[in-house]
Symmetry: C2
Subunit: 335 residues, 2 copies
Amino acid sequence: MANLHDVAKAAGVSKATVSRYLNGSLQLPARTAKAIDDAIKRLEYVPNPHARRLSLGRSDTIALVVPDISTPFFATLVAAVETEADSRGLSLALHATLNRPEREATYLDLIRQGHVDGLIFVTNHVANPALAEKLNSAGPCVVVDEDVVGAHVPKLFCDNEQGGYLAGRHLAESGHRHVLFVGGVDQMVSGARRYQGFERGMREVAADDVLIERSRGDYSFEAGREAGRAFISRGRGRPTAIFATSDELVIGLYEALGDSELSIPRDVSIVGFDDVGPLHLFAPPVTAVRQPVRDLGKYALALLLDAEPMTPAPPSNETLLPVTLIERQSVAPPP
Amino acid sequence: MANLHDVAKAAGVSKATVSRYLNGSLQLPARTAKAIDDAIKRLEYVPNPHARRLSLGRSDTIALVVPDISTPFFATLVAAVETEADSRGLSLALHATLNRPEREATYLDLIRQGHVDGLIFVTNHVANPALAEKLNSAGPCVVVDEDVVGAHVPKLFCDNEQGGYLAGRHLAESGHRHVLFVGGVDQMVSGARRYQGFERGMREVAADDVLIERSRGDYSFEAGREAGRAFISRGRGRPTAIFATSDELVIGLYEALGDSELSIPRDVSIVGFDDVGPLHLFAPPVTAVRQPVRDLGKYALALLLDAEPMTPAPPSNETLLPVTLIERQSVAPPP
DNA sequence: AGAATCTAGTAAACCGATTTACTTAACCTG
DNA sequence: CAGGTTAAGTAAATCGGTTTACTAGATTCT
């Protein structure tokens, strides 16, 4: 491959001239410019990215750290970030943590070690103080989707409280008073907020008449299946509706309930959260709170790049994206 | 950040000594080694990746080029490649083409331009001779999932012919004789092979008694919806079963058929392909040929790295991964 | 004792761009 | 025509590793 020196020689000028001409820091008369352009074309010159990065001290690459890539939610998020990165001429280095905390910490080092200029961090489990500390000193990064308590970096979430509220109001308005909230172990901020909103929504309609039970767990298929099995085994006196706070939980619940005598929504109503997968094709189609996942990815990068000057971030600087309730057929009045 | 020079000074040796010690090309007595180790620890030294790459002439990064990231199929593929790359200490640069041919060509330049050491190429549309030519001179790369005719690089596909065969045999054995094959425009190798296998499977059971129609199109939702609408509007005399050759097509078909009077599998049987999404939760659960997508990703990287010596590849060097038929409830005898 | 070998390193040339500070020649101005 | 300005560049340092070829001193061999 031709390098800058080759081009300079072919054009009869010096390296510096070519470099500065290409970067626009030097105005050249038409003849010289043409000589350089011709040499570049003839030699098929392309700047060596590693030399460039070493010299400039930046990589024009950003890292995206996600728990998993293969779930529809994160896949969509990744796609959105990639699109946005590409449109800004940045490369995207993708890293999956599979929720191993030591991996999360390792990947945060990518910034300081110079691999990437910035990092978008997405986690899926309860925050850990050491991680927050590490985030604070990691360099330019933003936290997306799930909060990391104690991290003073720009944050971008969907409006979980509002999502919970919409679900709660909808179930209460459909007549439900005794409901089960599934997912989002207490320490997870997203879960806590969804719960708060959910309770607020229900009470706004039915005041003190509501009884909300909680099935703690993460957002996984398995947690959904387990909640479903536990629900089935309770017999009479069980709640009349379930708010499942992720697509995976909905799927797990559908699987478990599908194996039982219980019918949705005749015996139990269900409201989901995320609405990224093809929930409209399930039997019955799932009523769910839809997260604006593409926007989450798109604005995450904007937030990262605009925040890069590292203004000492105020203790809390969250951006919330609005959510919507998509009504389908998994909700009916209680039996 | 501390650099090699700082470490050398702190340890009282030269840069070369530290570098060679770290790379194992120099044996040192315990005292010197300890001095270096201590200095590294104290200064928190981490090699600068750009300097390293410039010097070594490689990036320890590979690129993955896919049509789209957000579909379950590609998301799973990406996840598998990432896992494998990570376990080998490689970074993954992710690029989505969204099926814009000029993008595909651009991304192939990443190798020659030195951005990455190798590239896994996945396309989703009919091959184009210019692209094949470009692949041949692009450097270390492999083609996965969909063939690019004319490219003489290592290739990895699932066994599309066998997948078609399993579907065809299954439908014929269920009594179907008049069927519709949806997807895989003719020039696409995956589609052609699925069709060949499909025909072979049906004829093996029903010989000359079979009538196979084709609905051409790509593997998209929209093509599925269209095929579904066309199917519905035909009234009597329409095929009794449909082989939809991607998850997206299945979803499109389900959507269209769901809006009609037709019931699956009472009025029409459906066999899908891919089986990556939650097809078991659809109404009714979808019988489908399952692709081993994770293996596709995993072996893709292996193929790339093992093939890197660039042995002048024989005109055809394909690896095929076995597929399986997952029987659920979208197939029944014809009405 | 002199030669050969081994140990423990090192100086300096890369890799290929970027950038600062400087030069040279031409041109203008009063 | 001295002095200043502008145009059109350039030499050389820098980014931070890697690697080759080499050396000074110690040990072993004959």
